[in-house]
């Protein structure tokens, strides 16, 4: 099924009734409810201490060193949030949502496991399991299964393949932009440049190719802007806007998942500017575009952006950070009781393994709170099937407007 804007595919048995919203005569098997839930997976481990820096923590400046951000009011400084926390300046496009009380953060969020492997941590983040075992489906798909029959087939993966979080027994759809192959991401090209360093054939050719496309700046941590069609930071906004149009449609899907990479900032992470700043700007621009494209449906929406783990508190030898533990969760939407940082702050005085921000809030508690309060799912089922064996993790109360 194609449209001018992109390609919608159906995944899973019995998906035939799911059709592209907006086409004449195209409707879901039954009209789903009005509530929307969007998950943005930030792959590669977002540095939560950079996105929402705890400027008011007494140890902040000391432990962050070269990566410490300037306070609000200074040139290039952070944007004000509350007495302890501020917002990275590159996240400016979403700052207004804080004032409108449509944006909140759960800081020092993480999961019940301790692994610093991207692959394992992403599997667990998406499967909703507490330990690596036979992983075959994702928690969001299991949540879809709990929504009553008339609300099924409302899951949408935006950007291409269906990520693990949305895979499972319930049929879902995927959407990707039309127009063939996307440009490679700066992150990938950077890794490839290193991998080809000793290759007399491929190395020089890749270097010349990057130079010809003015890519070298970006890849090496400069400020050149990559193409919006690619996998780079600017590719997120068009995807987010497309997702919003589909999800806002009267007969459109109600649950959507987007993905954004580029967070694995081992090298040249930067403070106010640099690779992380570029990625944050791409994210915030996309979230703002999404919110605006939702129109009135934004009032019925909750969006969560989640990453697999955080990064080291201290800067490493390459002006970057390595794999850490807790990070920050972003929660946004018209239904959110925003304008605050929720959850406990463990502080920077005592660190996990003497290097990482400790986990104060299990992310699954946040997800359970949203699934219960926003989508009306039965808490007992959340404990048993969506996040198995998680009854000890109480749904996070009070994230949403009553």
């Amino acid at each position: 099924m194609t449209s001018r804007r992109g390609v919608l595919r159906l995944i899973g048995a019995g998906a035939g009734a799911f059709v592209l919203p907006g086409l004449p005569g195209a409707v879901f098997a039954a009209a789903p409810g009005e509530r929307r839930f969007i998950v943005v997976l930030l792959r590669g481990a977002l540095d939560g201490l950079a996105a929402v820096p705890p400027l008011g923590d007494p140890r902040y400046r000391e432990v962050r060193g070269a990566l410490a951000l300037k306070p609000p009011g200074e040139a290039g400084g952070c944007l004000a949030l509350d007495g302890t926390f501020a917002l990275h300046p590159a996240l400016a496009p979403i700052h207004p949502y804080w004032a409108k009380r449509e944006l909140l953060f759960v800081h020092a969020a993480g999961n019940g496991y301790r692994t610093r492997s991207h692959f394992d941590a992403q599997d667990l983040m998406e499967s909703g399991l507490a330990a690596k075992e036979r992983i075959s489906d994702g928690w969001l798909n299991r949540a879809l299964a709990l929504m009553h029959a008339g609300e099924r087939r409302v899951g949408l993966a935006v950007g291409g393949a269906v990520p693990l979080i949305l895979r499972g027994a319930v049929p879902v759809a995927s959407w990707e932009p039309a127009g063939g192959l996307r440009d490679a991401s700066p992150e990938f090209l950077s890794a490839l440049t290193a991998l080809y360093a000793k290759d007399a054939l491929l190395g020089p050719a890749l270097a010349d190719g990057l130079k010809a496309q003015n890519f070298s700046q970006t890849v090496l941590g400069g400020n050149a802007a990559p193409d919006a069609r690619g996998f780079g930071p600017k590719s997120f906004a068009p995807l987010a806007e497309a997702a919003a149009r589909l999800v806002a449609a009267r007969d459109g899907p109600r649950i959507a998942v987007l993905e954004m990479g580029g967070w694995d900032t081992h090298v040249n992470e930067g403070a106010e500017t640099g690779r992380l700043a570029q990625n944050l700007e791409g994210l915030a621009t996309g979230l703002d575009a999404l919110a605006k494209a939702m129109g009135p449906a934004w009032d019925e929406t909750v969006l969560v952006a989640v990453t697999e783990f955080g990064r080291t508190v201290a800067v490493n030898g390459n002006n970057g950070t390595d794999h850490g533990t807790a990070s920050v969760l972003l929660v946004m939407g018209g239904r959110v009781k925003g304008g605050r940082v929720a959850g406990d702050w463990p502080g920077l005085a005592q660190l996990e393994d003497n290097r990482d921000l400790r986990v104060a809030t299990d992310s699954r508690r946040v997800m359970k709170g949203i699934l219960r309060d926003h989508l009306g799912l039965d808490p007992a089922r959340l404990d048993r099937t969506v996040f198995p064996d998680s009854s000890a993790l109480r749904p996070f109360d009070g994230l949403l407007q009553a």
């Binding site: 692959f119 693990l164 192959l181 490679a184």
Partner: protein, 446 residues
């Protein structure tokens, strides 16, 4: 598995196959050479799917042109859509055959010979049956005799139309005397230059003309004729009289002249050398040694072009087993390898789009000479960026991406460089790790 067995298994699976999948390397490791040579006892699989034969598609092309002449503009539009659908079906079927094949050497050979005898749909008139050409004139012959393949190719409507022989007219033929049109040397020249003796094979311009004259009348049946769309010999355009080709006189014998001439060309020592050189360059190294080429050529001469034994001679060349990963994978090889190791076949449209970006759309070679076969032709800065782009995009599409290091183990055993292993391990996601594996220096080679 001992190190040298792992090394030989990798060469068997990649240099002579498409890529290792599942437990291929373990299986192959028991007898790598035997695994390769054993495939030569088989014939390539017939492609599955409802693919139309060339006669039907040639007739359809003729029909469309007739309707267009009669002012039916819609006919062409509909036809173009149908041709596109057939094209996509063809490349999907041949790709599937390659990535699922139990005899991957035969799939490689099919592509090698299909490229050797290029028909390119840059000539739009043959777009509907380039795939059928490969299925009918190449695939069944890759372990047969070279002269049989040569004859099947030269008589195939796709080649006769692609290189204009279908409209070549002997100047002194019945029709030639009536009309101003004449001989077309295109097929005659390429048969000598590209398909048999090779450009340095010792033929002259007079030989080109002689072969073109010999082949006059080799044509394709029109709509109103019986067996339309199939080979048809037209005595009325055949150049009469004796012709001298490569020092041998061919007395007037109509269609039989061409059959005899092609058999003689297939048996020419220059043909043996030309074919041996191309096979060695394809399977062993961009610049194979003179000795290796000579041994393969000798096998070609001694067996009268028995391609099973000629291919076996290539496989038995020690040089082929000495240096791993000596050849850069051509773009289509890379695509097939990526699909085979992941077990994920792209749908036809993105498959075609990817191959187009990589500059190797099947049946779209830039000239009758086919695709080049040396690394230098495939490593422009833009091309290497496109490879990277394709690898990342492909990795994004694999529905359930496997653990990249597990896949690396399947494809390479213990032979990956430490840097590659480290890069994959450090990748920020499973898909990113998969993209790095596919783009790695090792995966880009065979």
């Amino acid at each position: 598995m001992p190190a040298n067995a792992a090394h030989d298994a990798l060469i068997a699976a990649t240099r002579f196959g498409i890529a290792a999948r599942g437990d291929d390397l373990t299986k192959i490791g028991r007898d790598p050479r035997g695994w390769v040579l054993g495939q030569l006892a088989h014939r390539p699989t017939t492609l599955s799917g409802n693919l139309p034969n060339s006669a039907k598609m040639v007739a359809a092309e003729f029909e469309m042109r007739r309707d267009k002449r009669q002012g039916d503009d819609a006919a062409k539009r509909e036809f173009n859509q149908r041709m596109r659908a057939v094209y996509l079906d063809e490349i999907e079927a041949r790709t599937r055959a390659a990535i699922e094949s139990e005899t991957p050497l035969l799939e490689r050979l099919t592509r090698f010979w299909s490229n050797h005898f290029t028909v390119s749909i840059l000539r739009p008139a043959i777009r509907g049956f380039a795939g059928a050409f490969e299925r009918e004139a190449i695939r069944p012959y890759v372990t047969g005799r070279f002269r049989d393949m040569l004859l099947a190719v030269a008589r195939h409507p796709a080649m006769l139309l692609y290189l204009d022989n279908a409209i070549s007219i002997g100047p002194d033929s019945v029709i030639g005397q009536r009309r101003d049109k004449g001989l077309n040397e295109n097929l005659g020249r390429e048969l000598l230059e590209l398909h048999t003796l090779g450009v340095d094979g010792g033929y002259t311009q007079a030989d080109v003309v002689a072969l073109a004259r010999i082949l006059t009348g080799w044509s394709v049946a029109r709509l109103e004729e019986p067996n339309s769309g199939m080979f048809r010999f037209r005595p009325m355009v055949h150049e009469p009289g004796a012709k001298t080709l490569l020092g041998r006189v061919y007395d007037e014998a109509g269609e039989g002249e061409g059959v005899a001439a092609l058999a003689a060309m297939a048996a020419h020592p220059a043909t043996a050398r030309h074919i041996a050189t191309k096979l060695a360059r394809h399977f062993i190294a961009d610049a194979p040694t003179r000795e290796a080429v000579e041994r393969i050529a000798r096998m070609f001469r001694e067996t009268e072009g028995d391609l099973r034994q000629v291919t076996a001679a290539v496989v038995k060349e020690e040089a082929a087993w000495r240096t791993p990963l000596a050849k850069l994978r051509a773009p289509e090889d890379m695509v097939l390898a990526a699909e085979r190791v992941t077990g994920f076949a792209l749908p036809a449209e993105p498959l075609a789009n990817g191959l187009k970006l990589l500059d190797q759309m099947p049946f779209f070679a830039p000239s009758p000479a086919g695709w080049p076969d040396a690394a230098v032709n495939w490593v422009s800065p833009e091309a290497v960026l496109h490879r990277a782009q394709w690898c990342e995009s492909f990795a994004q599409r694999v529905p359930d991406p496997p653990e990249p290091m597990a896949l690396a183990e399947v494809a390479f055993g213990p032979t990956l460089a430490a840097e590659t292993v480290e890069a994959i391990r450090r990748a920020p996601s499973r898909r990113a790790g998969l993209a790095l594996l596919l783009a790695s220096p090792e995966f880009q080679r065979r």
